[in-house]
Symmetry: C2
C-alpha cells in the first residue's frame, strides 16, 4: 500500500503552483466552434502535450479531421491495471463578451461566499476537470515516483461541437486506447458537499418532421374550411403523442424500458428536489403517474418538442394556409430502447395520422441508445469509496436526462465500463457569461483523483 | 326610357380609344405600400381627377393621413337616384421584377387563347374595374348627354395596404358620400361566361397567442419529463380547437350562425367544384359534416391557424425546452357572430386549458362582423338583370370566404346596401407577376355598367 497521505499533502502543498498553471491553461482561447479558435486550440494542445511529457508520459498530438486529440501514455510494463482518463480542453464560445465582468480569457480571481473563485471561460467546463486529474498524476509522480496504475490520458479538442471526429479516432487508435476501465471526467456533483457518479445516461435521437400539403400557399379566408392546413395536421399529430397522463401513446415506445433497481429508486426518491431542480419550476409540467420527479428526469424515456415553425412568423397578420409546417423532436431513451426501432415506430405513427393528400418529410439519422454502467462494477465501487473519503457526504449514484455519446462510444468500442464523475456544479455558469470555479474545489477534486488512483492500484493487487 | 342600344354601341365604337387611355392609367406605378410609390400615386390621382372632370363631374383630390382619395360627383338636381361607385387605383408591389415577361408598368399586349391580353400590374386588380365604370359613364354622357342616375365616384389609393385612412375619410365626408346604393367594384366573376354578385362576405378577426412557461429556456434532456414545455401546451391547445368532424369545439362559437337561405344553398350546391377550387386540392381537408364544399367556403365560419413558431427553428438540432411558443389564428365569421364575443370566448378557451404556472399573452383587437347583402334588394335584383343581359350565363349570387372591410364600413356608416360585383377572374394573376386582363372583358365590363346604370335609372322612375 502506498502512502496516500503523503500524496494528498503534496496536493495541498503544491496548490499555489497548480493554480498558477491552471490560470495559464484557462488563458488559451480554445473555442472549438469558431474559425478563429483554431489557433487557441493548437497552442493549448501543444501546451498540454508538454505538461503530459512533464509527467513522464509518452505524449503526442494526434491530428483528426477536426481539432487534434492530445494523448499521453504511461508504460511501466508492470502488468498494471490500465486506466483511461478522458477530458476535453476545448470550450464554448464566450459571446456575448460584454456580459462578462472580466474578459473570458484573462482569468480573474474574486473572493466571494467564502470561496476563492476563478472566472474564465472553461474554468468549470471542462479545464478544471482535466487539470484535477493531471495534478493528481503529478502528485503521485512527485511523491512516490510513480502513478499506482498505468494511464492513458485522452484530451479531446471538439467536445463542445459534438465530437465529430472522435468515433473515427477511437476506431483508428483502438489498440492504443485499450484499457481496463475508462473515466469520463466532465460531469457534475450533486451538491457542493456531495460527490456523484453518473451511471444512467439516456440515449438520444433527433427527428425533424415536415408536413407538406398538396397545394401551394393558399388564402385562408377562401380555403380554410376545405383545404388541408399543414399547421392543423402538425398540431393534431404532435398533440396525440402524449396522453393526459404524460405517457407516450406510440405503440411499442416503452419496449425495452426496464424498471429501475429498487436501491437506486429509493436513493433517488430520498433526494432533495431543490438540488435536482436548481430553481427550475415543475409546476404544471408533465407528471407521469407512478414516477417521482427525479426518477422521471433520470430514469424514464421522453419525447420532447424542441422547435416548431410554419406559416406566418412575421410581426404582421397574414391570412395564409402555408404549404408546409415542421417540428423538431428529440427522444430520450432508457434501458434497451433501440434508436432505430423508436425512429421507425415514430415515423409510422406520424404517417398513419396524415390526411390523404398530405405527405411528410422526415429528417434525422443515427442516434444513441442509453448507457447504464453496472453499479456493482468493482471499479465503480472503488471510485465511490475514494470519493466518500474526500467529501463530507456519501457519493450519490445518479442518472442524467442528458446524453453523453462518448460514454456509449467508449463502452461499445473499447468494451469497458465507463465511470462518469466530475466536480462541476450547476452554479458554475458553464456555457454562459462569467463561468467560474473555485480553488478549494480544484484542490479537493485533485485529491479525489489521488484517492481514486490509489483505490484502483489496490484493486489490481487484489 | 333611354336608348340603351346606342350607348352600348358607343362603348364598342370607342373601344380603341378606351384601351389607349386604360394603357396610360396602367403605366402609373401607383404602388401604395412602397415609399417610392408615392409619386406614382400622386400622378395617378391627378390624372384620374382630370378624367372625372372630363365626364362633367365635380372632381377633387382629398388628402387623408395616407394616400389621397379621388372623388367625382354629378349634381343634376333632378332628384335622381344617387349611386356611389367605389374602386381603387393603387396596386400591389410588382416584385419580383425578373419574374415578369414585360415590365409591370409598361403595359404590353399579347394575343393568346383567342384573347387580346394586356399585361401590367393593376391590369386586373383593380384598374380594369375602375376603368370599366368610368368608360360606362363616358358612353352615357357622349351618347345621351347625361348619366341616368346621379353618381359619386370614390377612388381609393390604399386598398392594397388595408385601407387605413378610409374609415376616418368616410366619417369626415359622410354627407357628401350619402347615396341610395353603393357599388364596390373589386371582385370576381364566377367564370369567363358567368358574372357574379357577392352578397355574403365573412367577418374577420386575428389573434396571436403566446404561451409562456415559468422558466427560462431549459435543457430538454434534463427537464423534458418534468417542466412545462410551451410547445407541448400550444399544440394541445390548438389541436383541441377542432374536433374530428372539423367542427369548432369552443362553447358558443356558433352563436349567431344562421342557416343559409334554401335558394342560395341549392344554387351553390349545383355549382361546379372545378370553378370554385381553381385547381386547389381539397383532398384530406376539413369536411364539416352536412355542408357541401362551396357552402363551407362561403357560408360557414372558420378558425384557421396561419402561423406557428417556437424553440429551435434553425437548421441544426438543439435540445431545448423554449421559454415560449406562439401561434397566429384568424377567425372567419358569418351571420351575426360578433368579433368581440368570439375573441372573448376564444381567450377563455385558451386560458382554461393552460397548465398551472404557464401564462398566455394575447395580441389582437378590432375585427369585422360578416356582411350579408339582402338578396331581395331591388338594386341587387336590377343589377342581376343588367348582368344577365350582357353575359351568356345567368348571374351567380355568391359568397366569399374572404373579408372586405370596406363593405362593412359603407354598410354601417352610410346605411345603404353595398353591391359587390366585378369582372376579375382567378387566372388574372392578381398580386403576382404577369398580371393581365383582356380587351373583350374590358368591353363587356363597360357594357355591363352601362346596363346597370340603365336599370338603376328605371328603378328610380318606378
Amino acid at each position: 500500500m502506498r502512502s496516500i497521505d503523503a500524496v494528498l499533502d503534496q496536493v495541498d502543498a503544491n496548490l499555489a503552483a497548480s493554480v498558477d498553471k491552471f490560470v495559464r491553461f484557462l488563458a488559451f482561447p480554445s473555442v472549438s466552434s469558431q474559425l478563429d479558435g483554431k489557433e487557441g486550440i493548437a497552442a493549448c494542445a501543444r501546451w498540454l502535450r508538454s505538461e503530459l511529457e512533464g509527467l513522464g508520459l509518452e505524449a503526442r498530438i494526434v491530428r483528426t479531421s477536426g481539432h487534434p486529440v492530445v494523448m499521453g501514455t504511461s508504460r511501466t510494463a508492470n502488468g498494471n491495471l490500465r486506466v483511461l482518463l478522458y477530458g476535453h480542453y476545448d470550450v464554448q464560445p464566450a459571446e456575448p463578451l460584454d456580459a462578462w465582468a472580466t474578459p473570458p480569457f484573462e482569468p480573474a480571481f474574486r473572493d466571494e461566499d467564502g470561496l476563492r473563485r476563478i472566472y474564465a471561460r472553461g474554468a468549470s467546463d471542462s479545464k478544471s476537470q482535466v487539470w484535477s486529474f493531471i495534478e493528481a498524476l503529478r502528485a503521485w509522480k512527485e511523491t512516490e515516483g510513480a502513478i499506482p496504475v498505468d494511464v492513458t490520458v485522452l484530451l479531446e479538442g471538439e467536445e463542445e461541437t459534438g465530437s465529430p471526429s472522435l468515433p473515427a479516432f477511437v476506431d483508428a487508435y483502438r489498440d492504443e486506447l485499450a484499457c481496463d476501465v475508462a473515466y469520463i471526467s466532465d460531469s457534475d456533483m450533486w451538491s457542493p458537499t456531495r460527490p456523484a457518479i453518473t451511471t444512467r445516461l439516456k440515449g438520444l435521437l433527433h427527428e425533424k418532421i415536415t408536413i407538406v400539403a398538396p397545394n401551394r400557399d393558399l388564402h385562408s379566408g377562401q380555403f380554410g374550411n376545405v383545404a388541408v392546413n399543414p399547421l392543423r395536421v402538425l398540431t393534431k399529430v404532435l398533440a396525440s403523442i402524449h396522453d393526459e397522463q404524460g405517457q407516450v401513446t406510440i405503440d411499442g415506445f416503452y419496449d425495452g424500458v426496464m424498471p429501475l433497481p429498487k436501491v437506486l429508486r429509493e436513493q433517488w426518491a430520498a433526494l432533495s428536489l431543490d438540488e435536482a431542480l436548481a430553481g427550475v419550476s415543475v409546476t404544471g409540467g408533465p407528471d407521469e403517474a407512478g414516477y417521482g420527479t427525479i426518477e422521471s428526469m433520470w430514469g424514464r424515456p421522453a419525447i420532447d418538442f424542441n422547435g416548431i415553425v410554419g406559416g406566418n412568423t412575421g410581426p404582421g397578420e397574414r391570412s395564409v394556409l402555408p404549404l408546409s409546417a415542421s417540428a423538431r423532436l428529440s427522444f430520450r431513451l432508457v434501458g434497451e430502447q433501440k434508436p432505430e426501432h423508436i425512429r421507425a415506430i415514430f415515423r409510422n405513427f406520424v404517417e398513419s395520422r396524415l390526411p390523404p393528400g398530405c405527405r411528410v418529410e422526415f429528417e434525422g439519422g443515427g442516434g444513441n441508445a442509453a448507457v447504464s454502467v453496472n453499479e456493482k462494477s468493482p471499479y465503480l465501487v472503488a471510485t465511490g469509496r475514494a470519493l466518500d473519503a474526500e467529501w463530507p457526504e456519501r457519493t450519490l449514484i445518479k442518472g442524467t436526462g442528458g446524453t453523453v455519446p462518448l460514454v456509449r462510444l467508449l463502452t461499445d468500442r473499447l468494451g469497458v465500463d465507463c465511470i462518469v464523475t466530475g466536480f462541476i456544479l450547476p452554479d458554475d455558469a458553464i456555457h454562459g457569461p462569467n463561468e467560474h470555479y473555485d480553488v478549494e474545489r480544484l484542490r479537493k477534486g485533485t485529491r479525489s483523483w489521488v484517492r481514486i488512483l490509489s483505490e484502483l492500484g489496490q484493486e489490481q493487487s487484489c
